[in-house]
């Protein structure tokens, strides 16, 4: 346990499902750790490898990408495209030494406010366990 360490989490959430899910968590007053900074994208298909790598470069300890469940993407298959790219980006952050565990892709629908809070809580705790992305400040 890294006492006193508050991880910086960047979250990319798609407009139609996960961002609405986050909103629902908020309006339902479900608590989740405030470490995540959510960036709304129209679709997870918009999330490029550069988004992820730049986030880590600029100080993120973890990156969460959240989109519609397979079959629900409002642009048909943006989420599946994203899943494919994420597989490679995970390998990339793996060999870079950032660690695959610091990058996560999750499906959260607009009605799953509770699930959104659970995912964020769980991921934040996981990154907290991992500790700060080492060498970050040495940049």
């Amino acid at each position: 346990m890294n006492k006193g360490f508050e991880p910086n989490i960047v979250g990319f959430a798609c407009n139609w499902c996960s961002y609405a899910g986050a909103d629902l968590a908020g309006t339902s007053r479900i608590k989740y750790p405030p470490n995540i900074k959510i960036i709304r994208v129209m679709c997870t298909g918009r999330v490029t490898p550069a988004f992820i790598l730049k986030s880590f470069q600029n100080g993120a300890d973890g990156v969460l990408v959240a989109g519609c469940h397979p079959g629900d993407c409002h642009y048909i298959a943006g989420n599946l495209k994203c899943e494919k790219i994420m597989d490679v980006v995970k390998r990339l952050v793996g060999i870079l030494g950032i660690g695959k565990e610091r990058l996560r892709l999750e499906w959260v629908s607009a009605s799953e406010g509770g699930r959104f809070a659970d995912v964020v809580t769980e991921f934040t705790e996981q990154v907290r366990e991992l500790g700060p992305l080492s060498g970050k400040s040495q940049g």
Binding site: P49, A50, Q57, V88, L92, I95, L96, G97, I98, Q138
Partner: protein, 383 residues
Amino acid sequence: MSLEEIIKDTKAYYCLGCGVCTSSCPVARVIPSFSPRLLVEKALFGFGDEIISDKDLWSCLICGRCASRCPSGVDYLNFVREMRMEALSKGKEGLLAHDGILNTIMELQSLNLKQDRNFWITDDLEVADAGEYFYFVGCLPYFDLVFGEGGLCDVGIRSIERARNTVRILNKIGIKPVVSNNERCCGHDLLWNGDLEGFKRLAELNLKTIKESGAKKVICVCPEGYVTLKRDYPRFLGEQDIEVIQLCQILADELREGKLKFLENASVDYKKVTFHDPCSLGRIAEIYEEPREIISSIPGIELVEMERNRVDAVCCGTSGWVNCSGCSKKIQTERLKEAEETGADALITACPKCEIHLNCAKYNADLKIRIKDITDLVAESLA
């Protein structure tokens, strides 16, 4: 550096305005407004601000064709490098190719992270943690994930085979090289894109890693890595007690001593090939003959020359992952056509980036010529 200092440092004041540079420049042939001569002249007339705001400052390929012909010895490459440093300090940069991921990958390597870059080492390869020779793998593991099959920008190549084949060849000639998980990108692109500090961070980490391994000789395959370690590390970080060698030099020596043997009729795939001199290997490092000696001694292969060869060779069209454009594609497809016109079945290159860029161009063009790396060719032909 101030504009005056840059002019002094790169001997720009010697410029005669003859225009040999511009007429030699592959970019100027495609983009008429692009002119190395004009940039030098602008500097001499004190228009530094105009130079650093010019998007074309980032279109220069650092290919050295102009500088190799300049009658006054203007150091144009360092002129561009210094100007880019100035531009960067004012927040201006070129248009990064591939969304900038390759540049970010380089920058991330200067963090204190424990990489996992040696995933490619298979059981048949003999490598060591310490020893006399250090094999500098360079960006191959990253290139493989970005440009390899199923990668982010798949151009249908396997960069990492280069690393495996290099170790295979070295093992064959009795070298068990050090391969380190702590190696970083050499910093070439950061340096030439004007990020001197970023370059130095990577260089220091690499020198530390090499020294810790006890190696006195560093073997580079990537020509950019070679010139960076050999020329730029001493220049910017002081003299180093290491000898930097390019693989072709070792192989040519082994050949001359009769220690490198190829299979009889080794090359069934390629009968006639032509060699594309990578800028850093050719004009910068002046290693022209070694790769040719190696290729010609493979039984069953005939080496033919393109019209623009050796010091006149033309760049693979883009460098530093910046400003890759229609101009790059034009230079690349013309180069591939030139190779096809020789009647060769394959263009042989010796640089992983040439391989990537030329394959990318081939992707969208109706060109048949195959592109093959010299290291792979040698490894497949060894007896």
